[in-house]
Amino acid sequence: MVCEAWERGLDRYIDGELPESDIAALEAHLKGCASCATVALSRRELQLAIREAGATFRPSPAFRARMERATKRRKPAMRSSLWLLPLAAALLAGVGLVVLRGGRETAGDFGLREAVDLHVTELASTVPLDVVSSDSHTVKPWFEGKLPFTFDLPELSQSSFELLGGRVVWIDQMPAAHLLFRVRRHRVSVFLLQEQAGVPQSLRDLGPGSTARSFRVLSFTDRGLRYVIVSDTGPKDLDDLALRLRGRGAA
């Protein structure tokens, strides 16, 4: 059971709707209340499962092509209202959303939001990873046959990083490897996706120093794979891990 005072606040928190002023109080409560922490994790897990199961239906390539053709046909007919064209283009591209809604999360943030959600879930989770090992020669083979790509892991014995394990996750309906590392007392998530499968734009547009919900996020491609690193550790750690991972990808 969840404490009565936080019943509705918990859902708002999970939905990213809790006022900023209440977040610190709820997070402090969660640290001391195992019951509420369990409920929060349970609801978060369910939300992720719904997200994955609900994104079920995709337009067929034929329908997509038909829509694009129809859009192109429509534009010349609107010459008398030329001022509308940029707006119509924005409408169809969904670009207006970003401009009009200020800093809020949008459809374009979807992949990034999922990656951060997965990292947060992992931080809160008491459930072991699907493969728990610090041995890269155990973790890497575990993914074989579970993902449509393979990858190599760096040698970390001389570094401050420790591999904790991994699991298969889905980001924007694409299978991805979720690797968890530890550096000192921080945990670091690394997501690997196949670049050619159509990685969400939000995971490709991450410039240096990017953050999402206070987590540092770093993204790069290497040999056909997209790497996305999420953590609350310092930027030097992220750069260091990225350097070690580069050159290890294999499409």
């Binding site: 897990e45 992720l48 199961a53």
Partner: protein, 162 residues
């Protein structure tokens, strides 16, 4: 056309039919283009276009066939939170198979399902869902709470029956 996928997914959940979903999306885009001057820039574009889609669905053959009805009591926010219980074991519910969770979503009342899909799948805010479905924010929250609870119960029953 990034929104095409989101609109199509929602349309398919509403109509439960590929052809009708395609017709619905096509008509939604046509209406959105025609009606763009009525869009108010300070409001959410996504809420606006999802509202067009929902309204178009309600007047379509599929929408009239579906007759989505929810008893008024179901929107009672107090009641929505009354019987929600989670245990450490229920964390695993969320990790149930994709098919099981999808079955549970199929079994949901249409009005709960709409709210859950717009929030958990399409990422709309409470305010945007309220605008898209033309309902108060309190109702959005109660439908979300009830919808998620029903999904959890459905999955629990199925897992318990194994």
């Amino acid at each position: 056309m990034p929104l095409l996928g989101s609109l199509y997914n929602f349309a398919h959940w509403l109509t439960r039919n590929r052809d009708e979903a395609e017709d619905l999306v096509q008509e939604t885009f046509a209406k959105a283009l025609r009606g763009f001057p009525s869009f108010q820039p300070e409001t959410s574009f996504k809420a606006w276009i999802f509202r067009i889609l929902k309204n178009t669905f309600l007047t379509s053959r599929a929408g009239l066939r579906a007759h989505p009805m929810v008893p008024l009591a179901s929107d009672d926010e107090e009641d929505a939170y009354a019987a929600v219980t989670e245990t450490p074991e229920s964390i695993l519910i969320g990790r149930a198979s994709r098919e099981l969770v999808r079955d549970a979503m199929e079994a949901l009342s249409p009005s709960f399902r709409e709210a859950v899909i717009l929030r958990d799948v399409e990422g709309l805010t409470y305010q945007e869902i309220a605008e898209a479905l033309a309902i108060p924010i309190g109702t959005v929250m109660s439908r979300l709470a009830r919808g998620r609870r029903d999904i959890r119960r459905h999955v629990e029953r199925r897992l318990g029956g194994r």
